[in-house]
Symmetry: C2
Subunit: 182 residues, 2 copies
Amino acid sequence: KKKPLPVSAKDYANRGMSLEEDINATNEYYLEMNIAVIHKKPTPVQIVHVDYPSRSAAKITEAYFKQASTTDYNGLYQGRYIDFEAKETRNKTSFPMRNIHDHQALHMKRIIAQGGVAFLLVRFTLLEEVYFFEARHFLDWYDNSEARKSIPKSAFEENGYLVPQSYQARVDYLQIIDSHYS
Amino acid sequence: KKKPLPVSAKDYANRGMSLEEDINATNEYYLEMNIAVIHKKPTPVQIVHVDYPSRSAAKITEAYFKQASTTDYNGLYQGRYIDFEAKETRNKTSFPMRNIHDHQALHMKRIIAQGGVAFLLVRFTLLEEVYFFEARHFLDWYDNSEARKSIPKSAFEENGYLVPQSYQARVDYLQIIDSHYS
Ligand SMILES: [Mg+2]
Ligand SMILES: [Mg+2]
């Protein structure tokens, strides 16, 4: 059973920053402190037309968003390959699985098979909680949920880890890896 | 001293495919055969304006290329974090270093410090040779070359590894990792 966040840490959660912004700031801190090298992958874009005005930068004038074939973030921490997807939900009692695409689930399986550390960071926004949820647990739900379309919050409490927050590492997920992967 | 490619393998090199296309096809093969999970990062784009036509896909109408802050490719192979930059040159006697940016060199240093496998794949296009060149060797040249702006081809021959080519793995760089990293 997880303990609730201490009040002082909770303060950081409610400043209207998206989970992605908080993770990016955390990764920037990890990078500057030589703790880890973890980056968000650029948004995949299908470029259709580019103008090359003389003496100016090339301008993309027609492009479309492509669906990502992998997860949001990957990188390296103390020799370990790290790979995760970040998701927020305003739901208080469960996490809807529709936000994770089939090829992302397949990607997680491949990462596990190759010995990487694969997980989800899920923020229950209204509860101000971020969970580190190992991909193997996510995949259990994903592969065995014909009918179910969501993972109950209790699964995060039971099998996940509440991610501590601090000023410089707003979503300090590497602490979970330090504690639970040896 | 490296042996030249056998003639039969050389055939594959001269079909007008870019190094990037060949690496992407190789990675696709690695992925499908469950050998490794290595992807090219999407091109980083600064999106300025998006149109949302009703009943059609969102259309990006103004965007600009951003300079990459990391390398072209990363991923996972048998528990190892893999990270590399791919470059082609039509120069026959040296590799011009101007194509590698400062923050890419810094990124390589960080990857080495965290225990990852960092390298360059350099194709000497007119010679039909691709070299696996460890980032530590590249960084030696990079950090100690006030005057010099290029790495002589002989350095690739002495400190690099000629990458074998085959039909399905056109730039079979994991063979180098198998042979030289234990
Ligand atoms: Mg996400
Ligand atoms: Mg390149």
